[in-house]
Symmetry: C2
């Protein structure tokens, strides 16, 4: 059996920043920027209020920011809360092949560490890439053929702790054996399933992955040991979470092919499998006559869109994240699909609510995950059709730097002044050049 636990550990330990192609470095900076924006966007949500309150009650020595809230706590708790903030609105990034959200746990752990340790920007970016890379590669092993994994597992919760532990382990300069243990201890905390989607507990799973990764790396750094074959061994990670997995997917081409380049940023705050349908409906909405009365909507979507987001009637803002029907209706009615469209007012809007009921959605296995077809029938016999082959924000149509900047600003400006928002944007964009990441970034809100 291929010793992938050790192979992955050895790769992470030996990898050097200079080995990373420029495009990977700049994609990691984009991922970090998108992440930081999402942290601010979610930082005032009720779920985060609670998580921050529980963390603060432990009364730890404050070493890391609870971002966007002016509070500070210990590293593990900060990683937990900040990842929750970035995840809670389902606006975070996605490795579409596996629907993993790679940046949240890793970036949250690394940033919390950096606030208490001087870490150069390039070392931060390097660790972030390693963490995202292993996370996405393990998600590939778990979910891509020939693996037969239960779609119910929330894969970010399975691979997230491992990527996080490896990334933090890199900053802690773990040797190969300790990196093996860090992977093992993280894998032993792999957890989470999708029945919780649409509740606060959905963002909780990546948040917990962040905390688990921190714990694994800190324990391994001091010599807390573990089996050397946690990933591949019998009764181990892949044995229990996947059947028939192809181990080679984890390690083949490591350092040459980068899954980090297959990461995508969401233009809309909901499950990514909903996005192509939103695009199709937005396209049609632009063409609809203002007095057009919609009698029926037909969607054709990738089957996963219905599996993961088939809720017809959301009752809370968080439930909209798993309601394909809500977002299609909102896009048609409001010609928009932003944070406004997940509010209670939008859920209860009679125009949107009535339309949700008149949408038929069929799974179409021949479509890609970023593809959808929408047809809208009007009372006057008018018909509109849109076929979106690649959703906005997909790998074929990635958000531009400008679009990412606008997304960032739209989320941060509700917390920081316009000047500080611009300052933070600039520093996040330039994270790779920072002399001391924690100081450089947190000075924006601490100053």
């Amino acid at each position: 059996m291929r010793a992938i636990t050790r192979e992955l550990a050895a790769f992470a330990v030996r990898s050097k920043f200079d080995d990373l192609p420029d495009i990977v470095r700049s994609e990691a900076a984009r991922a970090f920027l998108n992440w930081m924006g999402c942290v601010f966007g979610g930082a005032r949500e009720a779920a985060v209020d609670i998580a921050a309150a529980v963390a603060l009650e432990a009364g730890a020595v404050p070493r890391a920011s609870i971002i966007g809230r002016g509070e500070r706590t210990d590293m593990a708790s900060a990683a937990f809360v900040n990842c929750l903030s970035s995840s809670v609105l389902a606006f975070d990034d996605t490795h579409l092949a596996t629907v993993t959200h790679p940046t949240g746990p890793v970036a949250a752990a690394l940033f919390a560490f950096c606030e208490d340790h001087p870490i150069r920007g390039q070392d931060f970016v390097h660790a972030l890439v390693l963490g995202m890379e292993l996370e996405c590669r393990l998600s590939n092993v778990l979910l891509l053929p020939p693996s037969r994994s239960n779609i119910g597992f929330y894969v970010t919760g399975l691979s997230g702790p491992i990527g996080t532990a490896v990334a933090l382990g890199k900053l802690l300069n773990l040797d190969e054996q300790r990196m093996v243990w860090a992977i093992g201890l993280a894998a032993a905390q792999a957890a989470g399933f999708r029945v919780t989607h649409g509740t606060m507990a959905s963002g909780f799973v990546p948040a917990q992955a962040a905390r688990s990764g921190v714990s694994a790396a800190l324990l391994a750094a001091k010599g807390f040991d573990c089996s050397d074959q946690v990933l591949e061994g019998p009764k181990g990670f892949l044995d229990v979470f996947s059947t028939g997995a192809d181990l080679d997917r984890a390690a083949d081409g490591l350092g040459e092919r980068f899954e980090t380049l297959s990461n995508a940023y969401k233009p809309y705050p909901c499950g990514i499998v909903i996005h192509p349908a939103i695009d199709a409906c937005l396209e049609i909405a632009e063409q609809l006559p203002s007095d057009g009365k919609i009698t029926q909507v037909r969607l054709k979507v990738h089957p996963l869109a219905l599996t993961l987001t088939g809720r017809r009637e959301p009752t809370t803002p968080l439930e909209t994240q798993i309601s394909l029907f809500h977002w299609a209706a909102a896009a048609l009615r409001r010609r928009a699909a932003g944070l406004e469209e997940m509010q209670r007012t939008a859920i209860a809007d009679p125009g949107i609510a009535g339309l949700r009921e008149r949408i038929a959605a069929d799974p179409e296995p021949a479509l890609g995950r970023d593809e959808a077809i929408a047809e809208v029938m009007l009372a006057d016999g008018g018909k509109f059709r849109s076929h979106v082959k690649n959703a906005r924000g997909s790998l074929a149509r990635p958000l531009t730097d400008d679009e990412l900047d606008r997304k960032f600003i739209s989320q941060v400006r509700s917390v920081l002044s316009p000047e500080r928002t611009q300052d933070l944007l600039r520093r996040c964009r330039g994270i790779g050049e920072a002399a001391d990441v924690g100081q450089d970034i947190s000075s924006v809100w601490a100053g």
Copy 2:
């Protein structure tokens, strides 16, 4: 589909101490006594040194003891470390039908909470019973027919967080809805598999279950929400961890039949499935002539003994926990199977090491889990045979109160003075009558 998440939550919320049969109350006190002894027994292990150091670095307000070490930390970390202490030597209790170790996570969380909140002994015992009960019942659902679960999962890590969250939730007076969420948040942290057995990471899984349960209960208490159907819903706990599970096992006879009464205490510090073979070898050892030269040993054991503990050559003390061969050899050579027999000196003892190689062990499906047959052949043609139908410490042959006391004393006396050891023993035995559990117990070592 039966709404067992809500059923279990409702049961826990409505249950009253007066509803518990006397025998269940006294069994819970025995479980607590055994647990506290095991905490002291493991408190000076290297794994615990590391876990305590990581916890103390966070610098939380000290509200709970790291038992047996004179240190104090926050509730969640204390629960984690104390459960690790109780688990690390594999001397903790076992629900044999599922090989769950029920008391560790629950008792560790409850005790840490009690040190900072005045809780009466009967409320502590009540919460402990509820936690153990739900834990063992969910383990039954996961593992007993018709379920087809992967034996690789470490079931204490799956059901442990849930039992812990419910027990702590009871002390927090959660209402039914919040108890539903506590169950859900705990289940979303269900984690762990058996490839880590025989390393520090083996005790880590129950320890992490304790921490997860604490986190779930504290978040739910403040209104952190979750799906209402985490256990039974599609893409939920049972969907991903078990196939074909019988939901009724979770809730049928709740409050009437108590799984807590099917909990057993180990006389030997190793995997419980090894115990009947140890008994058989000890029996034979008593009869062997002092100059008898053993040429061969044949064991017949329940198949699970080889699946879980088939390591022939342990290289570390923790690896002996999964080595049927080591313990059979040690029992024959030393006529003993205690903490001494897991030390490096015992592993390297030529008499034991040589004998490990001459043991053949065959799985025999017709045997019970607490049953084993040993045959020993001597060079002079002598033959000895022992058939143990129920191992010491099994449900059919439970440890007596006196035996539990001796086990407790043997573990605590290495840390506390003989007087304090006796004082602690007395207070643990009488836990149900304490006016304030945390004060009453911790005064023994704090005074």
